[in-house]
């Protein structure tokens, strides 16, 4: 059933409010939800993404299904959150898990506001001046045969001088909607390596917000790998908040079949002398639709900022779609900012070269597609993640129908 976007926006708000009251939401968080508006037809930030799939009523029920194929552990340190609830955790010394969550700045979407009203946060706090060798594998899983949702909320806090790696790993089955909020908060001299792996089943939905709040002179390196599903929306908001902080974000997104990915990134520089570097690559095949909106916002006092963004995309066949918008909003003259975006296809001469050496067309295209994103795969600092990511991505690319073949 299709309902008008504006009717749906009203319905979603009613559902979210009812659900929030059922789940014990109260106080300011509930008031904030009452004041928010869900995406309407002309809401600019949702221009390319329809939430029509939610007309199935995901917000009316909380997911409670059993997982058929839970994620394998990629590390000895594992935290498992199923359907929004903490199940198990095994953490090394120096990392504590608690539920005393700090307020999270920079949450904007109505879905994140809803999450704030109902979620019970899992806080992973790394003690000051501690280096955690093993990556912490945070498994965030959801399953439901009928449309239903869950609200995981994870806050990673690195105190002064702490160093850690966190793998934020999503898994979904059936018709689950994961409405997630993740916040990474770093103090002075902290160094966080963060992975965000999103490979839920094609039938699932994911609406998530990632906040990177660099409160101290810290370094955050974030790697985001994702495939499309029925609806994937990622809002990433980075607040580079203390002079000397550095941020890098690298990512790959692959859409195929009828899957959808919408990445909305915003890096905000509020103070002088910070650096940020973003590099995202997208592949769209079959009837997939990818959206990338990368915004760099430099405030008036943020002199000496060095910010860059690159987004390169491959459109593999007719029917696929890429919408990209690299935005700059700059209020200071003493900055160096650049962005570049391309949308193109595989190089015909390279394909010819491979085919002339006896490699079948489909295989050649897969190889070249993989080559396109290889630069970023090679940059993954942890072997375990790279080993997991490569075959996963290769499988995705095998599915994606190569350019010119069997295209409608």
């Amino acid at each position: 059933m299709t309902v008008s976007a504006n009717d749906l926006a009203l319905a979603l708000k009613t559902q979210a409010l009812a659900s929030a009251r059922r789940l014990g939401g109260e106080g300011d968080a509930l008031a904030a939800l009452e004041a928010t508006r869900f995406p309407e037809r002309k809401t600019e930030r949702w221009k390319y993404t329809s939430v029509q799939a939610l007309a199935d009523g995901h917000l009316n029920a909380v997911a409670a299904g059993d997982l058929r194929q839970p994620l394998p552990a990629l590390s000895e340190s594992v935290v498992t959150i199923n359907n929004g609830e903490l199940v198990t955790s095994s953490l090394p010394d120096g990392v504590t898990l608690h539920h005393n969550a700090p307020a999270v700045a920079g949450l904007e979407t109505p879905f994140a506001v809803y999450n704030s009203a109902v979620a019970r946060a899992v806080v992973l706090e790394v003690a000051a001046n501690t280096r955690i060798e093993q990556p912490i594998h945070v498994q965030i899983q959801a399953a439901s045969d009928a449309p239903a949702h869950c609200n995981p909320r994870v806050i990673v806090k690195l105190n002064n001088g702490a160093e850690a790696t966190v793998i934020e790993h999503y898994h979904g089955e059936g018709q689950a909607l994961t409405n997630a909020v993740t916040a990474l908060i770093t103090a002075d001299n902290a160094h966080l390596t963060h992975y965000r792996l999103q490979g839920e089943a094609a039938s699932t939905l994911h609406i998530g917000t990632l906040i990177i709040d660099q409160q101290g002179i810290s370094q955050v390196d974030s790697y985001q790998l994702m495939t499309g599903n029925r609806l994937r929306r990622n809002d990433v908001h980075a607040l580079v908040g203390k002079s000397g902080a550095e941020l890098t974000m690298k990512g790959i997104f692959v859409v195929r079949d009828k899957s959808h990915v919408d990445n909305q990134l915003c890096v905000e520089h509020r103070v002088p002398d910070c650096q940020s570097d973003q590099n995202f690559k997208g592949l769209a095949g079959e009837n997939g639709k990818a959206v990338f909106n990368g915004r760099i916002h430099i405030h008036e006092g943020a002199k000496g900022t060095n910010a860059e963004l690159s987004n390169k995309n491959l459109l593999l066949n007719v029917g696929a779609e890429i919408n990209t918008k690299p935005e700059l909003e700059i209020y200071n003259d003493d900055v160096k900012c650049a962005h570049g975006t391309t949308v193109g296809q595989l190089d015909a001469t390279q394909q010819f070269y491979l085919q002339s050496r006896g490699i079948p067309a489909a295989e050649a295209k897969r190889m070249l597609s993989l080559g396109f994103v290889n630069e970023l795969l090679m940059a993954l600092p942890h072997e375990t993640v790279a080993e997991w990511a490569r075959p996963w991505l290769e499988a995705e690319l095998t599915h994606a129908r190569p350019a010119g073949e069997g295209a409608a």
């Binding site: 779609e321 700059i330 949308v343």
Partner: protein
């Protein structure tokens, strides 16, 4: 460069800021169906034109004013604007220059617009529009020999109704957007150009717009039709007196490039930008769009230095196969100016190509935004786009922003977009200064170099004017 030196550079005079005293017939402020009827009657328009205007007005009444642009201004009261002002001396259309009011001629002389044909250096035909009316069009006869129609749109409605009926609103429909709808309802005058099949227009065509009367709006409408295989280069210039209140300018320009035709449209926009404190200045809301049919080409070049607010997106719909769209822009903002400008390239045909080069310079407390859209439709095989938008910031209180929308639905299309933001580098300044170039000149040179890619696209006379305009605008701004 120190802030004080910058401030000095940015503070310069608006040379076109004088007022002309002529006896005018001006409607009291306010907008209603009666005003439109009066306006249409005054121009002696046929009924179909009046109905078209009323239809547009009804559409406009139902539209909300757009708020998506990166602009801040108090809401505009459309009932405080006068929608018609005409020098009385133009009541009987002048047949030759001798009959034109000497005050008006003096105005244009002061602005450096040559109306005397014998004094023309390069042979540019000019149509001048003063407030709501076209004053005079030069070189009409010479153009008529080539079959070119170049006249005011009011004349075209009378003399060439079949062409106007066919093409008016065909590129920018009446209800396209808020300001286009307003313009469709109340447009006063503007230029009309028709280039017949296979004709290369023998000279540059030019329109010069001048707002003079206080509290008036200017709503001009330009329609250019280049028939199969023809070529025309068209220039447009604008100025207004220096006044404390804001004045409204909402224009619509429609270009139709039929198969194999080429239209080159250049604008130097120098409406009064307001003073340092943001007092006064023109609110400039313009819809410019062209449709390019098979093998045709439309090229927009603009130098935007004026207006308190600029809201302008000259666009090309690349409807035909192998059509080409180009957009070259320099936008300079200073004082408290705000510009939100860019382009749309809509690729519909096969092998369509578009190029976008945008240079934004912001100084003082101004805000300068590039907003663009490149859309590749599913059947636009082998479409190609290249976009470059660079921003130069002069001072630490100004802003430069980029909002480029890129939408691709065809796997054979190639799109490239790049953008940079920087300031005048100390190295460049040092190099110039140690060679004895004074700071003001140095910045002017660097800014000129920054804009060079766009200036070279302008017709020669305009390139010189544009270069001078930037110099004047930056005068005293640099150290």
């Amino acid at each position: 460069m120190s802030q004080a030196e910058l401030d000095k550079l940015i503070r310069s005079n608006y040379e076109a800021g004088f007022t002309t005293t002529v006896d005018t017939e001006t409607l009291p402020p306010g907008l209603s169906e009666d005003v439109i009827r009066f306006l249409s009657d005054k121009k002696g328009e046929p009924d179909w034109m009046l109905q078209w205007r009323l239809d547009s007005y009804r559409k406009w009444q139902e539209m909300p004013s757009p708020t998506w642009a990166h602009l801040h201004h108090p809401p505009i009261d459309f009932n405080e604007v006068s929608y018609y002002s005409k020098p009385k001396s133009l009541d009987d259309a002048p047949k030759s220059l001798d009959e034109v009011d000497p005050e008006l001629l003096a105005t244009y002389e002061k602005l450096g617009i040559p109306l005397h044909e014998q004094e023309m250096l390069a042979g540019v035909a000019v149509d001048v529009v003063f407030d709501s009316s076209s004053v005079f069009t030069t070189f009409k006869e010479k153009l008529a020999e080539a079959g070119v129609i170049f006249c005011s749109i009011s004349e075209a409605i009378k003399n060439h109704p079949e062409l106007v009926k066919k093409y008016l609103g065909s590129v920018v429909p009446q209800g396209d957007n808020f300001y286009a709808a307003l313009n469709s309802a109340v447009f006063s005058d503007g230029s009309f150009v028709y280039i017949p099949k296979g004709v290369r227009c023998p000279m540059e065509l030019s329109t010069y717009f001048r707002i003079n009367e206080a509290n008036t709006g200017q709503f001009e409408r330009t329609l250019i039709i280049a028939d199969e295989g023809s070529y025309v280069s068209y220039l447009e210039g604008c100025t207004a007196p220096q006044r404390d209140e804001n004045q409204l300018h909402a224009a619509v320009v429609e270009l139709v490039a039929l198969p194999g035709a080429e239209i080159k449209y250049s604008t130097v926009q120098n409406w009064y930008p307001g003073d340092e404190e943001g007092k006064g200045g023109i609110y400039n809301f313009v819809t410019k769009r062209g449709v390019a049919h098979d093998n045709s080409k439309i090229s927009w070049t603009q130098v935007e230095t004026g207006s308190a607010i600029t809201w302008k997106y000259p666009s090309v719909i690349l409807r035909g196969d192998n059509s080409i769209g180009e957009f070259y822009s320099v936008a300079l903002t200073r004082h408290m100016q705000q510009a939100d400008t860019g382009t749309k390239m809509i690729h519909l045909g096969k092998n369509t190509k578009s190029t976008i080069i945008s240079k934004g310079i912001s100084a003082a407390r101004s805000q300068n935004s590039y907003r663009g859209l490149v859309r590749i439709s599913p059947r636009a095989e082998n479409a190609r786009n290249f976009t470059q938008c660079d921003s130069l910031l002069l001072g630490d209180q100004c802003g430069a922003h980029t909002f480029p929308y890129i939408e691709s639905k065809n796997p054979t299309a190639t799109i490239e977009h790049e953008a940079t933001t920087s300031k005048v580098s100390d190295d460049q300044m040092f190099l110039c200064r140690q060679r004895g170039i004074d700071p003001e000149k140095a910045v002017s040179m660097i800014v000129n170099g920054f804009c060079k890619e766009v200036f070279k696209e302008l017709p020669m006379e305009f390139a010189v004017e544009a270069g001078k305009l930037l110099e004047v605008s930056l005068e005293g701004a640099v150290g």
